[in-house]
């Protein structure tokens, strides 16, 4: 399991690429476990031959969510 803390949501409705590096050819499962704002473009991704996969996080569209810390967890077995 890997975890990434986004301390502050930079702005509303903003995109951000998040790269995970691990073993090659494994399934990675993505979820937002804290903060609960914004969204991920994929919840399941397969790592490539170099063990790399990249997801897209899009922050909340709600102005009131600005400044909310978000934690994204990536689970593999």
């Amino acid at each position: 399991m890997a975890q990434l803390n986004l301390q502050k949501q930079p702005t509303i409705n903003d995109g951000m690429q998040i790269t995970y590096i691990g073993a090659a050819g494994v399934c990675t499962y993505w979820e937002i476990v804290a903060g609960g704002v914004g969204s991920l473009s994929d919840v399941i991704l397969l790592t490539d031959g170099d063990g790399v996969t990249t997801n897209q996080y899009t922050s909340s569209v709600t102005p009131g969510d600005v400044g909310t810390a978000v934690t994204i967890k990536v689970t593999t077995i």
Partner: protein, 324 residues
């Protein structure tokens, strides 16, 4: 079965066109009758038109073996009665009896199941199939054998197959009674194609556009075929390791085959995880969503099961479809 491009018009005089050879210099096919007393040489166009060009001159030759040599300049026809080959003039299309090509190859080795051509260095080569399922190359002039270049491990004797030149290092063996086509690379000695076309009375390979042209046996219509096998079936996907665990990647594979069971390489397979009735939308993914078959007709992808979303009773369906 190879991929059919089109079925054209009926050849207007198929009885006089039992043999075809592609002439790259003029992008047209040369046709003649193997045993007819006419022995007329014709241009055969892809639309079925025949244009009479010349004859063997004496109306006494039984022409058997033909090949375009030097790729685009000369055509030779073999005369069984004279045991010699003669050049066909590319403009007048007449049989040049003043330029015989004599051979040291034993008469018994000249048959319908053979082909000859001229190498860039000027030497004439000849290939014949034998009942022992081997094809042997000879030097036409000296008759010396260059040895076997292909051996079929099983199947019909090569005597049942007529060879044809296919450009590069490839030579095809075709059987009109079954429609079977087998192509060998004579350098690597690898069988590169083993498939079928509809039964034909004549066949030629256009090695510029990489098409087979046949005259269909049942109705004398021209048919143009691709060099590639038409995909006809996709096996059910097989999962490996097949553990069905919620987080474990599974390698999924299928085999794509033609109508005659041939393995089909280089075709694109589209993978999808589909919703099972009553279970809601698909949760797992496949990556990549499309993959090509390898030389053994096998395409693979990786399936990631639903992971956290996996619920008892979930049963996902993975499908593979060939994209044509």
């Amino acid at each position: 079965m190879l991929r059919l491009v089109y079925t054209g018009t009926k050849v207007t005089d198929s009885q006089a066109t039992s043999q075809l050879i592609y002439m790259p210099s003029i992008d047209v096919f040369h046709g003649y009758n193997l045993t007819s007393e006419l022995d007329i040489i014709r241009k055969v166009y892809r639309d079925g038109t025949l244009i009479e060009m010349g004859t063997n001159g004496a109306n006494a030759e039984q022409m058997h073996h033909a090949a375009s040599v030097d790729a685009d300049t000369e055509l030779y026809l073999w005369s069984d009665t004279r045991v010699k080959a003669y050049a066909i003039h590319p403009i007048t299309w007449t049989f040049d009896l003043n330029r015989p090509l004599t051979t040291g190859i034993a008469t018994g080795d000249w048959s319908n199941d053979s082909v000859f051509w001229r190498e860039p260095d000027g030497t004439h080569k000849y290939i014949k199939g034998f009942s022992a399922k081997n094809a042997r190359q000879f030097d036409v002039i000296t008759g010396a054998s260059d040895g076997d270049f292909a051996v079929f491990p099983s199947g019909p004797d090569l005597q049942d197959f007529a060879p044809m030149l296919m450009g590069g290092n490839n030579i095809g063996f075709v059987a009109s009674n079954t429609g079977r086509i087998r192509v060998w690379d004579w350098v690597t000695k690898v069988l590169v194609l083993d498939s079928y076309v509809t039964l034909f009375s004549a066949i030629a390979f256009d090695f510029v556009h990489r098409n087979f042209l046949t005259i269909r046996a049942s109705d004398d219509r021209l048919q143009l075929w691709e060099e590639n096998v038409e995909p006809a079936a996709v096996s059910n996907p097989v999962a490996s390791p097949g553990s069905s665990l919620r987080y474990t990647a599974e390698t999924m594979s299928v085999i794509v085959t033609g109508a005659d069971g041939e393995l089909v390489p280089d075709v694109l397979v589209d993978w999808t995880v589909v919703e099972n009735p009553g279970l809601g939308p698909a949760k797992g993914i496949v990556s990549p969503a499309q993959s090509k078959t390898n030389g053994l007709g096998v395409a693979t992808t990786t399936y990631c099961p639903p992971g956290l979303d996996w619920m008892i009773g979930d049963d996902e369906l993975i499908t593979a479809t060939v994209l044509v």
